[in-house]
């Protein structure tokens, strides 16, 4: 029996290769898209699961409330962790970790690299994280200061020809570390990156200042707790809150702030945390869900093609069904036959899908910022997913034709009765409308995302982001020589101006509590702070609206001078007149930094447009505060500027690596996840419309075939070719129009919601929708044009004879 079905299926494919092609390609594209998305989602969901006990590991996060806004940070104070460990019995083990703010320069003699994965970590690391130590001792490897454990990759990178254990590595050209252990590489699916585990006790030395580990109100490292099985994390959080209240409650009260902690399950950090100072950029749960929905839709759309074409073709198959029934076939046998056919198609599609996945993955990886491979979720799971998808597709796609066709009464079928003129036809239309609605929705989403990204690129940010190079001043040694560096850079012909600053747009922006002189402690304001030299305002092209920018010409500026933005005026209550601010005294509570307001500038966007503009403060400070040099260069001399600056750097800092970027790129980087969302929408909407058009093409050919006689009669009655083409196209156009009407509200609400995640956004109305709708209409008409024109050109006599 199976052989009988198989030979029928294979002969059908041979006889109607076009039909088989459409089905197989459509299904394969859908399956490939589904598989790629599954890989992506599996990857996103697997973060930090590789740690043993990952269900009991939590990171302590701090939520601070002040009179002027909230702070949500993933970091805690260095002194806290060990004391929690002592006094909270529910904490089984605790580890503190300090990844680099930017990067560390690591050197083995002349081998030098900037390393992002150089983390300082407590000797309790192995109690919490199941790092796989293959050399060295868990008990002692991280006890002594200046000890470091390497991953296998790093060991091979720095010690290619010798045993790393016991050898030295130099950090920041200054500190020598002894290699005390080697661990296996960690999977990339983790919210932190660790290539080097250095002993945290090292930080009692001057690297971060002598008292770094004792500071009790300085959120500057990450604390992870392994809880006793069965512990409610909120109970622990309450105990931690009590500890904080007892130890630093008084100080917090004086500045009008309160702090609460929360325990974040380590597995949820990647997709759900989104706090300030995440170690690596988080993923987005929204993207994961949107992609999951797209995956299901694309596969469904591909299955719909099969159903549609199979029902359209049912007229020619119904005779076979009639005969088989006459020959004694029972309905279940026929159902099995048709399901079998769709399984064969879907298995062939599966094979093609594997090839497509290999083709799609590189592009997808670029768009999504991943390094997925066909087997990255494991060989067995890849096989299981593919087979599973092929089975489900075979079942879903084949079920309708199978049940529909097998229900025919044989006497009717043998007479060549037309099937499903009403029922099947209706379903077919609904399915086509569904396909086009999905296509239009995805294309609208793509267009909106890119329009918004374009908007963010072209919006006036309040400063000039073009022709600015940012050079990182990562080390104390580099910063110490900055005045010389600045003088030499200023002389370069390709450079307009240079400024040293603690924060730059596109990078991490520091915030501080600021207090006006006459106000009480409770009226402090959280303000973004740019500790910089005199030329920051000029170099970035920030516009002064009152007072003046700092200047060497005013010696008093070096004693403490502030420039505020407009939002800061608002926060201090001076917004009625910018000049009110000039001459006021500001200070940082608890610190010894204070000065006079000398000017006010227009608001400028240092962060992404997702964020509102916050009060900002440009403070004149010395070179020890500068982490970046921002350099404005002459238009058209980019190449010269880069190499000239590089030469100065080499000359002045031969031991350090010259690291530069363009501010425009740094700012665009803030929208990396939006861009990847846009690219993903774009890619998948292309696939969706491709599949939908494949289906439409097939459907058009069957319709044209079925209506041959009608067309013949109409032509005999004098209808022109144009009229016939119009008649046939009209039916297909109707699908698109109905799909458009149905999807419009969904797309409109959905995309406005996404746009609302930006504080500054484009407007999105019916215009965009209409353009996309018309575009899809045009595409669909072009798709059916070949069939309709062919049908309308056919000789009417042939058509009538054919019947």
């Amino acid at each position: 029996m199976f052989r009988n079905y198989l030979s029928i299926a294979i002969r059908l494919i041979q006889k109607q290769p076009g039909y088989a092609f459409i089905n197989i390609v459509g299904l394969a594209v859908g399956m490939a898209a589904f598989f790629v998305i599954t890989l992506f989602i599996t990857d996103e969901l697997s973060y930090d699961k590789h740690f043993e006990n990952s269900d009991r590991i939590y990171r302590v996060a701090v939520h601070g409330v002040t009179s002027n806004g909230d702070v949500n940070t993933a970091m805690t104070s260095p002194s806290w962790g060990p004391e929690w460990m002592d006094e909270i019995p529910e904490i089984e083990a605790l580890v503190r970790m300090k990844p680099p703010q930017q990067m560390w320069l690591v050197a083995k003699d002349d081998l030098k690299f900037f390393e992002k994965g150089f983390v300082f970590i407590d000797s309790t690391a192995f109690d919490v994280f199941s790092f796989d130590l293959i050399r060295g001792s868990q008990e002692t490897a991280l006890s002594a200061p200046f000890s470091v454990i390497l991953t296998e990759t790093m060991a091979a990178k720095y010690f290619p020809n010798s045993d790393a254990l016991g050898q030295n590595l130099r950090l920041d050209n200054a500190y020598d570390f002894t290699v005390t252990g080697i661990i296996r590489d960690l999977p990339g699916q983790s919210h932190f990156k660790a290539d080097f585990l250095a002993s945290l006790s090292t930080l009692r030395t001057p690297i971060y200042g002598d008292n770094f580990l004792e500071s009790n109100l300085n959120m500057s490292l990450y604390s992870y707790a392994l809880l006793v099985p069965g512990t409610d994390p909120s109970v622990v959080a309450t105990k931690i809150d009590a500890y904080i209240d007892r130890t630093v409650g008084e100080i917090l009260k004086t500045v009008g702030a309160t702090i609460h902690t929360a325990l974040q399950p380590i597995r949820s950090i990647h997709l759900e945390s989104h706090l300030d100072s995440e170690i690596l950029p988080n993923g987005s749960k929204g993207t994961v869900m949107a992609l999951a929905a797209i995956a299901v839709f694309i596969l469904l759309i591909a299955c719909i093609n099969y159903m549609n074409l199979a029902t359209a073709r049912s007229a020619s198959r119904s005779r076979e069904v009639g005969i088989r029934k006459v020959l004694g076939a029972e309905r279940p046998q026929l159902i099995r036959q048709f399901l079998g056919e769709s399984f064969i198609i879907s298995m062939l599609a599966m094979v093609l899908a594997v090839v497509l996945v290999l083709l799609i993955l590189p592009t997808f990886n670029t768009a999504a910022g991943k390094a997925l491979t066909l087997l990255s979720s494991g060989f067995l799971s890849a096989v299981a997913i593919f087979l599973g998808v092929a089975m489900v597709c075979g079942l879903v796609a084949g079920s309708y034709p199978a049940f529909f066709l097998s229900s025919v009464t044989p006497a009717y079928a043998l007479k060549g009765g037309k099937l499903g003129a009403a029922g099947g036809g209706m379903l077919r239309k609904v399915l086509v409308v569904f396909q086009f609605a999905t296509s239009i929705g995805l294309i609208v989403a793509t267009v909106v995302v890119f329009r918004q990204l374009n908007f963010t690129r072209n919006m006036d940010l309040g400063f000039d982001r073009e022709q600015v190079i940012v050079v990182q001043l990562t080390d104390v040694g580099v910063r110490a020589l900055f005045p010389t560096f600045r003088d030499r850079i200023e002389e370069l012909p390709s450079v307009v101006s240079i400024s040293g600053t603690s924060s730059a747009p596109g990078f991490f922006i520091q915030t501080n509590l600021v207090l006006p002189e006459e106000a009480s402690q409770e009226e402090t304001v959280f303000a973004q702070t740019f500790f910089s030299d005199y030329d920051f305002v000029e170099t970035l092209g920030i516009r002064v609206i009152a007072g003046r920018a700092p200047s060497e010409a005013h010696p008093s500026d070096s004693l403490g001078a502030f420039v505020l933005n407009e939002s800061a005026l608002g926060a201090f209550g001076w917004d009625s007149d910018p000049n009110l601010a000039i001459g006021r005294r500001l200070s940082f509570p608890g610190g010894n930094f204070e000065g006079l307001v000398i000017g006010v500038v227009e608001d400028f966007h240092a962060e992404s447009l997702h964020e509102p503009i916050e009060p900002a403060l440009i403070a004149v400070a010395n070179e020890q505060s500068y982490f970046y040099a921002v350099i404005r260069i002459q238009a058209g001399s980019t190449k010269d500027a880069i190499s000239e600056i590089g030469r100065v750097w080499q000359d002045l800092y031969p031991a350090y690596i010259y690291q530069y970027s363009f501010m425009e790129d740094d700012i665009n980087e803030l929208y990396a996840s939006d861009l990847s969302l846009g690219r993903l929408f774009g890619g998948f909407s292309f696939l969706t419309i491709l599949i939908a058009c494949l289906g439409l093409f097939g459907l058009a050919s069957f319709t044209a075939e079925q209506r041959t006689k009608e067309i013949g009669v109409r032509k005999v009655l004098g209808a022109s070719m144009g009229q016939i083409t119009f008649l046939l196209s009209k039916d297909f156009a109707r699908f698109v129009v109905i799909a458009f009407v149905l999807i419009t509200p969904v797309a409109w609400i959905g995309m406005n919601r996404w746009l609302d995640t930006f504080n500054y956004r484009v407007s999105f109305g019916i215009g965009t929708l209409l353009i996309v709708g018309l575009g899809v209409l045009a595409i669909s008409l072009v798709t059916v044009a070949y069939q309709t024109v062919k049908a309308s050109m056919a000789n009417p006599v042939d058509a009538l004879k054919y019947e």
């Binding site: 005779r319 076979e320 009639g322 004694g328 076939a329 029972e330 309905r331 044989p410 043998l414």
Partner: protein
Amino acid sequence: MIRLEKITKSFLHGFNRSFVLRNISLEVKEGEFVSIIGPSGSGKSTILHILGMLDEPSTGEYFFFDQPVHKISERKRTDLHREYIGFVFQAYHLIDDLTVYENLETPLLYKKIKGSERKSMVAEMLDRFNMVAKKDLFPSQLSGGQQQLVGVARALIMQPKLILADEPTGNLHTSHGEIVMDWFKRLNKEDGVTVIQVTHSDHWASYGDRVIELVDGRVERDVQNEPVPTSI
């Protein structure tokens, strides 16, 4: 073998019910060779389909070997029809995508007959109809007469007790028609197979022992073994 009691068949045309068969009662005994004749649209095919359990009557009762066909389940009906009935059509109704061999094999597959037995049954049929050389051809590669022979062979392969034939010779040249009719005659006489055929022509009708004439869904005439007047 067959007993029809007041069988009617009607279709809804909009709000009108049009009757194709009206109150047909008749009996056919095992071993008879019946020809059904009548003008086009008189309901010949319809009654044959009902007899073959391919279609259901609107009202009335149908007994097949004393089993009430109108009452039993679809499954049971399929069993009866698989067991006892072979069908031959004017349009041959072979499965285009299967070879001669596979077409003959299909009913055996549905009856779940084992491979070796199946092979010998198909081989025997091919032999009986002199089609061994053609077994791997597709229907489209055969002449009309050859196709109809395959149709007859396929109907016979299950060794049915009843053969229903709807204008089996309608599309054939006379010489081919003779071959088919001779087969029916032989099966009827030698093996005692009951044959009911629908035909337009008196010539082919005369092969039967009994002629039933339908007019407008009614039995107009039911006679034994005598030539029919050429009034049609």
